[in-house]
């Protein structure tokens, strides 16, 4: 293990880093869209009442 351990270590870390990064990006995009939808719905509600 000792000889090639760094390659194994980095290969597995890259996999988890990429997957976790993608999932986090999805979460951020989802939150951002939800916020923008809420903001527009509020604007629309105000405009329609006016």
């Amino acid at each position: 293990v000792a000889e090639h351990f760094p390659y194994l270590f980095w290969a597995y870390n890259i996999i988890w880093f990429l997957i976790a990064g993608y999932v986090m990006t999805l979460g951020m995009r989802q939150r951002s869209i939800r916020r923008r939808i809420e903001r527009i719905e509020q604007t629309l509600g105000k405009e329609e009442r006016a």
Binding site: H4, I14, I15, I37
Partner: protein, 245 residues
């Protein structure tokens, strides 16, 4: 029907990540404690259990993009565009895993991180083609055009998948041949078992990422529709234009 679909989607969004996590742990255990140690390459060969299955499921993801692209062009139903877009993103993630972990295996085994060998080169081209699929969507602001251009890319891009698969035999590359359609593979039974676990793990992970990503496309479409509605509202004199982003 809509409520039932929402309930199923919500359940899948909870169950699939848990299943993926359990399978990842199971496959990791197999890769490090169950599979036999490869005699020539040693422990670095254990990269293979998460490298090769990622490549196989990446092909599946691009196949789904291919089918969704055809379905979109035939029906113009935006659902298919969302499926194709989501599957391309997940496929690219898996292709990136393949392209980054492969060189880490190759360095101690081949003595170099990268060589312009047939399988490596065609996989790199595959990655670039599907990056093009994502970039072409940014080329225009018109959602219908975005979907149409991307669908054409999704169909043409898939032509590279069989080329990647057969590249080793066609150009006699030195990339190991793990899956053979005929003649059987050369894997030792414990290695084969863990390799199959790896495929199942990535399949469930693919399904998991799809149920998280496809609804995002729907939400983006809803946002666009609401923004257009807000922009079309009649303004009273003296009002500032409504901010839509």
């Amino acid at each position: 029907v809509k409520n039932a679909r929402k309930t199923w989607l919500g359940a899948a969004q909870i169950a699939l990540p848990l299943m993926t996590l359990a399978l990842v742990i199971y496959t990791l255990h197999g890769a490090f404690f169950f599979a036999a140690r490869e005699k020539v390459m040693g422990d670095v060969q254990r990269i293979f259990y998460f490298h090769a299955p990622a490549g196989i499921v990446c092909f599946l993801a691009f196949f789904v993009t291919f089918i969704a692209s055809i379905a979109y062009l035939a029906t113009r139903n935006t659902f298919w565009d969302h499926v194709g877009h989501a599957s391309t993103e997940v496929g690219l993630l898996l292709c990136s895993i393949v392209l980054l972990t492969g060189p880490l295996w190759a360095r101690p085994v081949w003595g170099t991180y990268w060589t312009w060998e047939a399988r490596l080169t065609t996989t790199m081209i595959l990655w670039l083609i599907y990056m093009g699929y994502l970039l072409v969507r940014r080329y225009t602001d018109n959602p219908e055009q975005q979907a149409r251009f991307a669908a054409v890319m999704g169909i043409i891009g898939f032509l590279d998948v069989p080329i990647v698969y057969w590249s080793v035999s066609w150009w006699r590359g030195h990339h190991p041949l793990v899956l053979k359609i005929s003649g059987g593979g050369g894997l030792e039974p414990s290695m084969r078992t863990v390799f199959m676990r790896g495929i199942v793990t990535y399949l469930v992970m693919y399904a998991c990422l799809m149920v998280l990503r496809v609804p995002l496309g729907r939400a983006e479409e809803e946002l666009r529709w609401l923004a257009e509605r807000a922009a079309a509202l009649p303004r009273r004199q003296g009002d500032r234009p409504a901010r839509i982003s």
